[in-house]
């Protein structure tokens, strides 16, 4: 079993992994919520400058694992994590690691767009400000503008940067949240079902954006939509009941999955 498990982590060495350096790797990660064993002995390698999608039925642990990467699980008192998650040779669960620095390096976009009840400008400027990234006002303005540009939002909001971010449409709010995340120069961006609250047109825009962002970032996206995983990702990981069942190149996963459970899930037999 353990040997089979090992081969599943990097099944037949995905092509993408061979082409790109590994950005994040997890070894024997276990996550518990009190008594509940949410992630069971999970090991995975995530490449840089690619989109990796986590799919699986509800409660399979994909969001839990995502939130373990930037230690957002720390806010849940009953949550306990063991094992190693290493980003750039640095274990994120090291005692001497500063969580604040980690979260600046590993940005996160949430399921529901959650802009601050402040202006569009302030939403994006907040991160650089608390991390002291911009030294002058004009530098800060440059960061805000370039972040909004990268998030594909600048043209739509350039005349109303002082308007509240909460006044934007759902899709615009989510792109604002992406701009806010990339304003602090992260290396990894975690996206927890970023399109589940959006309509198909807004979803398409976010997916385009993700595709552009992968040129510069390591992106991990949790999604319920297998079509979305197929559209935006290069690698797909299938989670089931807290274990990583299969991980491989997206096109192979969706055409020739190696595991029966993956096959069943993808063809809609459960989930």
């Amino acid at each position: 079993m353990s040997e089979a498990f090992q081969t599943l982590v990097t099944p037949a060495n995905p092509r993408i992994l061979a082409e790109r350096p590994v950005k994040m790797s997890a070894r024997s990660v276990n996550v518990y919520y009190g008594e509940k064993h949410a992630i069971k002995n999970l090991s995975i390698d995530i490449p840089d400058r690619a989109v990796s999608a986590f799919i699986g039925p509800s409660g399979c642990g994909k969001s839990t694992f995502l939130r373990s990467i930037n230690r957002m699980n720390d806010t849940i008192p009953s949550c306990r994590v063991s094992g190693d998650i290493v980003i750039d040779d640095k274990n994120v669960y090291d005692r001497d690691l500063d969580v604040v620095q980690l979260r600046a390096k590993v940005g996160m976009v949430f399921q529901k767009p959650n802009p601050f009840p402040k202006s569009i400008f302030e939403n994006v400027a907040y991160g650089p400000r608390i991390h002291g990234i911009a030294r002058t006002k004009s530098e800060l303005e440059d960061i805000v503008v370039s972040s909004l540009r990268k998030a594909g939002l600048f043209e739509e909001v350039k005349d109303r940067l002082d308007h509240p971010g909460t006044g934007l449409s759902g899709g615009q709010q989510q792109r604002l949240c992406i701009a806010r995340a990339i304003a602090v120069n992260p290396e990894v961006i975690l996206m927890d079902e970023p399109c589940s609250a959006l309509d198909p047109i807004a979803t398409a825009r976010i997916e385009e954006l993700i595709d552009e962002l992968r040129q510069n970032f390591c992106i991990i996206i949790v999604t319920h939509s297998m079509q979305q995983a197929a559209r935006v990702s290069q690698l797909t990981a299938f989670f089931h009941l807290g274990t990583l069942v299969e991980f491989g190149d997206t096109d192979e996963m969706f055409t020739a999955p190696q595991e029966q459970r993956t096959q069943d899930y993808i063809t809609g037999r459960f989930g």
């Binding site: 957002m72 980690l102 979260r103 959650n114 009840p117 909460t166």
Partner: protein, 435 residues
């Protein structure tokens, strides 16, 4: 065929029962709406009756009757030695001067009995009024000044219609001679009603016409300041700690239960606590606003903690997650996001707590704030009273004028409460943000 017949038979009856059921539902809703409207109408009526009675009782106290007299400030009476020393000017017999002026105006003659009756028309506080005039400008000595002096309580009552002229002279507070004098003064245009500044410039007095709220206002102000600077920072800090930092265990559960219980403790118990701890154990002075403020702070603290915790807990977790997600520290999350969003709720709870403290009477009884204090306190350690205490004391006084003063003090207390509530509403609107 038989099927259709039976259907035709049952269909209308089902429709009828549905219609009856519907009608009943509508009736129930109508009745419920009527009850609700009736309850609101009743409350509204009660409030109107309450305010009408308070205002009708209290408004006369905002006006005060004065008698204008030409008072010769005789040097022989005020300062026979000509020293012009403050002390000498302070102890002079100003009542004599005022009465002399009145005798002249009324042409009473030398008869002692009628002079005594005439003297009763002036307030016993006129000596202070003349003294203050002379102390402010000693060069007036030797001249004759036209001054407006406070009339006696009974004159005031007569002019406000509280004394009935048709009552037989024997059972009337003013006899026929006095009425005639008053009419003479009115005819000469010497009697007039002005705004009662005494209400705001004097402390306690046994005469209603010289009694004021100054000491009570200062005492209440000191107490409000104490509560604002003690209960608010401690309450808000404690609530944020409990809500955001404290671990969830049986100790914090215990603290939470106790905070909730403290909010329900009768206020007089806090008075006992204040008496035992602040006065007996710490040796703070009795009747001092600082002690009152400390007691009211303890009483208000749970209210502020509960309101603040509710406001902090109501901040959407998605906002906190967003801030954490881009690397804000816990303190930054609280200071930059949680507190600004919780401010409207915190302010509302705090001001409601302050208003409650402003109107609180029972705990202040226990620490000796029911006191006859004439001079305004310079520091919170000197004796003072409070607005509700002053209302209580005036309400238990016998003289007719105190009834109106009680009403007036109640109006002022209510105005302060309304003003603070208005501030709470304004601040809530001002800081409210949508997310």
């Amino acid at each position: 065929m038989s099927m259709t017949v039976s259907e035709q038979k049952t269909m209308p009856s089902r429709a009828a029962s549905t219609a009856a059921h519907l009608a009943k539902r509508h009736r129930v809703e109508k009745r419920f709406r009527f009850y609700g409207a009736a309850a609101i109408a009743f409350c509204f009526l009660a409030v109107i009756v309450l305010f009408a009675s308070i205002v009708s009782k209290g408004y006369p106290a905002f006006l005060q009757t004065h008698v204008t007299l030409s008072v010769p400030l005789d040097e022989q009476v005020i300062d026979p030695a000509g020293t012009r020393l403050r002390n000498d000017l302070y102890i002079a017999d100003y009542t004599k001067l005022a009465r002399q002026a009145l005798y002249t105006a009324l042409d009473t003659g030398k008869d002692r009995a009628s002079r005594k009756k005439a003297g009763q028309l002036l307030s016993r506080g006129v000596d202070v009024e003349l003294r203050d005039l002379v102390l402010a400008d000693p060069s007036l000595i030797g001249t004759t000044v036209e001054v407006s002096l406070t009339a006696a309580d009974n004159v005031d009552a007569l002019l406000k219609g509280a004394i009935d002229r048709n009552v037989p002279a024997a059972s009337r507070q003013l006899d026929d001679q006095q009425l005639a004098w008053i009419d003479k003064l009115i005819a000469a245009g010497k009697i007039h009603k002005d705004f009662n500044w005494t209400l705001f410039t004097r402390g306690a007095s046994s005469q209603p016409e010289t009694a004021g709220l100054l000491v009570a206002l200062i005492g209440s102000l000191y107490m409000m300041l104490t509560v604002t600077f003690l209960a608010v920072p401690f309450g808000v800090a404690g609530a944020i700690y409990l809500e955001e930092f404290a671990p969830r265990n049986k100790w914090t559960d215990l603290i939470e239960v106790n905070v909730n219980n403290l909010a329900a403790v009768p206020s007089i118990v806090y008075g006992l606590l204040g008496l035992a701890v602040f006065i007996n154990a710490f040796g703070l002075p009795r009747s001092a606003p600082i002690v009152g403020g400390l007691v009211l702070s303890l009483m208000t603290l749970p209210t502020i903690i509960i309101a603040t915790r509710a406001a902090v807990a109501a901040v959407p977790p998605s906002i906190k997650e967003a801030a954490l997600g881009i690397g804000a520290s816990k303190m930054q999350v609280i200071m930059h996001h949680v507190l600004p969003l919780a401010v409207p709720g915190i302010l509302t709870g705090t001001i409601i707590g302050l208003v409650r403290a402003l109107g609180e009477t029972a705990p202040l009884l226990m620490i000796g704030m029911v006191a006859f204090v004439v001079d305004p306190p310079a520091t919170p350690l000197e004796p003072a009273t409070a607005l509700p205490i002053q209302i209580y004391m005036w309400a238990t006084s016998a003289e007719r004028g105190f009834t109106a003063l009680t009403g007036a003090a109640t109006i002022i207390l209510l105005l302060f409460s309304f003003a603070m509530n208005a501030v709470a509403i304004y601040l809530r609107r001002r800081f409210e943000r949508r997310w």
